[in-house]
Each structure stands twice: as C-alpha cells, then as structure tokens.
C-alpha cells in the first residue's frame, strides 16, 4: 500500500512531464517567401558583408545594442533597397526576422520568419510590425518611445525593436553607399 502510494506520486510527476504538444510550424516564413513579400517582383542579389571590429563597435555605440555577429546576411534590390535577415534572442530560442529598407535607409517592412517561444506571438501582428515602417537610423526606435510595447509579449517586442534599431545603424555604418 505504501509503495503503491509512492508509485502514484511518481506516476503523477511523470505524467505531467510526458504531456507534450506538437510544435507549431505555421508561422515559419522561408527566405524566398520573405523576399517576395517585402520586395514583390524584384530580383535581389546577395551581398556578403563582414563587419570590421571598428564597425561593430560603432554600431553598438550608435544603437546601444550588442552586435553578436560580424556577418550581415544582406541582399540588395535593383533600385538600391536592402533586405537583411537577422535574429534576436527570445526567452529560450532565437527569433528570426527579415528587415526591408528603402534605398534611403528607411524601413519598408518587417517580417517575422520564425517564432518558437511559448508566449508573445502578438509580435507577428501586422499592425504592430507596421509601427516600424518609415523609421530611419535617426529615429529612437525604442519601446515606449516611438514603438508601442505589447503587454504579455514584452521580451519579444523589446528584442525585435532593439534588433531593428541595430540593423538601421548597420545600414548607416556598413551598407550605405555599397
């Protein structure tokens, strides 16, 4: 009887651990899809960019955001616009996103390419992402300033906003004029 009670407890503990749910994949946006969404009908050319140590320091200084990689995954459109694919840190996973810039360096659009966090999917809302449209490296691009925080998705909205600000400064420091 006593051993059985112990086993009951273990079964309860294991049952809780065993419940799992199928990972969602419906919000995944491929690179091709991101390109065709942000630059419909345009042909993009990959432009390999490797940031120098000085450029990384400058971007970090200007944006206030740490530069975690020296590689910039960038594509250039025929009229001088840019597509940058990057990621920011989520609570447990990376959040992949694509940023489209006009030839003058203002935001044309933001697309979330993958989101695997438990909460915070509200950042995929087109209305929230539209808040970035038209922003330039001269704008604050900060939560609670010119970008609205999403209650319940604070970590994701802060990190994506920081990521966009960092990439705007990346354009200013390393892509402009290329």
């Amino acid at each position: 009887m006593k051993k059985r009670d112990f086993l009951k407890c273990l079964v309860t503990a294991c049952a809780v651990g065993a419940i799992s749910q199928r990972a969602r994949a419906d919000d995944f946006l491929t690179l091709d899809k991101a390109q065709s969404t942000l630059f419909p009908g345009e042909k993009l050319t990959a432009v390999p960019i490797t940031l120098t140590a000085d450029q990384q320091k400058q971007i970090q200084l200007l944006s206030g955001v740490r530069v975690r990689s020296e590689t910039v995954n960038a594509w250039k459109s025929g009229n001088g616009g840019w597509l940058i694919v990057d990621n920011v840190i989520g609570k447990h996973e990376f959040i992949d996103f694509a940023l489209a810039l006009t030839p003058k360096g203002s935001v044309k659009g933001v697309e979330i390419m993958s989101y695997r966090e438990t909460y915070g999917r509200e950042v995929m809302n087109p209305k929230w992402r539209a808040l970035f449209t038209g922003k330039t490296s001269g704008d604050p691009v900060q939560i609670d300033k010119d970008i609205k925080n999403i209650s319940g998705a604070t970590l994701s909205s802060v990190h994506i906003t920081d990521g966009v600000r960092r990439l705007l400064r990346t354009w200013e420091v390393a892509l402009r004029g290329k």
Binding site: F6, C9, T12, G17, S20, Q21, A23, V65, V88
Partner: protein
C-alpha cells in the same frame, strides 16, 4: 505569464542525508498557475511526501506516504525586467499543511508567507541574476515541533547564463532561518544551501534541475557547522513546467 494562459508545474524534490541513519524525503508539488492579467497570476498547489527513514533516533523509522497539504499564491509584477531595467514582483502565499515535511507527523498548520522577487538581466538577457526573499508566519506546528507557532525567513539568489539556445546553467543559493513563537530572540536554526542549476526551455515546456549542498547550518542544541534536526545535507530538485 500573459493574461488567460495556464502553466502547470511539477516539482519533485529529494531531501537526503542526516547526521545519523538513512533519511530520504521525496516532495511532490503539483502547481497550476493562471494569468488573471498580464501583471497578476494566481496559483494553487498540492503538496505530497514520501519518506524512507531508517536508523533515526528521533523520527519514525519507516517508509510511508503522507499528504502534505495545499497552498495558494498570487504574484503581482510591478516592473518588467525586459522593459524597465529590472523586474520586481510581490508574491504572497497562504497554505494549510496536514503533515510536516520532516517526519510526516499529523498536524494542522496554517501559514502565510509574503515574499518578493527581484531580477536583473545583463548581456541581452542572457545573463540573469535573480533573488527572492519571504517571511512566513505559521500556526499549528505541534506535535512536529515543541511550540505552536513559528516565524521563518527564507530566500535565495542565483546567477545563470544562457550558454546555448534553450540552455541555461548557473549557481544558486538558498537560506532558511526559523524562530519559534514569533520571537526573534529565540533562534531555532539557520541553514544555507549552495549548488548548480541547469535549465532547458522549449516552446511548450521547460525543465530545471537543481542540486543544493548544505554548506553551513546552525541549530539550537546542535554542534558543528551543519544542522540536521529539520534539514538535510542534500537537496536535489527537478521542476517541470508546461505552458498552455
């Protein structure tokens, strides 16, 4: 946790090792938490124990199950660690315990425990410092204790680093100090545990494994630099969380 969401936690702990005989106490704590708003969560918890005791001169030498009791808690977040620079939350808890967690003796304990949680993140939220502190007022400690009511302080702090996607590793410490009859001049015991922690988090579930070793303790009528009347040498804990 955002409004309307539910989390389920299962914590399984093994407290083992005393200064005599063989002592193992398993704790099975099952908790359901609900987001009332984005800032306020409520939770209810069921506590169960299983004891395996042999060679003790003061405890019931047997192996047996005992229902521990139930507890309810609220958590209100004043600031967000991601937006405001630091996170700060108030977490009051109330509970009713039908058996004590040292020897499984029958009791009717009622406790209230207001607590606070602080968190500060660094390096893009990959390095996390967290601390918590609470005081607890408990009534109905007899016959497990010689007195009816008790004041205790409990808390801890830890530092963890995200060394790979999904994975955090760190070091945690926990302390607890008890004072019978709500009398700060009447110290019963104080204990400090320190040990590593490993955390994995996925989209729908997470798990945290912790080990704590009693690095220091002092109890009334106990010599040495460790205390075993109510504490153990080792605390090993696995907490599983499911997000809905």
């Amino acid at each position: 946790m955002p409004q309307g969401h539910i989390d389920l936690y299962q914590t399984t702990s093994l407290r083992s090792g005393k200064d005599e005989g063989s002592y193992s106490a398993w704790d099975f704590d099952t908790e359901v938490e609900y987001g009332i708003t984005d800032l306020l969560q409520m939770s209810i918890e069921v506590k169960q124990h299983y004891f395996d005791i042999d060679g003790s001169s003061e405890l019931n030498n047997d192996n047996f199950y005992s229902f521990g009791g139930v507890a309810m808690a609220a958590k209100y977040r004043f600031t967000s660690v991601f937006k405001d620079g630091y996170g700060f939350a108030f977490r009051p808890e109330i509970g009713y315990l039908t058996h004590d967690d040292v020897g499984g003796l029958d009791q009717h304990e009622l406790f209230i425990a207001p607590g606070f949680i602080y968190q500060k993140n660094f390096l893009d939220d990959t390095l996390i410092f967290a601390a918590n502190a609470a005081f607890e007022l408990a009534w109905g400690k007899k016959p497990a204790e010689e007195y009816d009511h008790e004041l205790s302080f409990e808390g801890g702090f830890g530092l963890s680093y995200r060394f790979a996607p999904n994975w955090f590793g760190g070091l945690e410490t926990r302390f607890r100090s008890e004072y019978p009859d709500f009398d700060l001049g009447n110290h019963e015991h104080t204990v400090v545990f320190v040990g590593p922690a490993l955390h994995y988090g996925g989209e729908k579930w997470w798990a945290t494994f912790q080990y704590g070793y009693q690095i220091w303790g002092h109890g009334v009528d106990e010599g040495g630099s460790q205390t075993y009347a109510e504490e153990t040498r080792n605390e090993t804990r696995l907490k599983l969380g499911l997000n809905f």
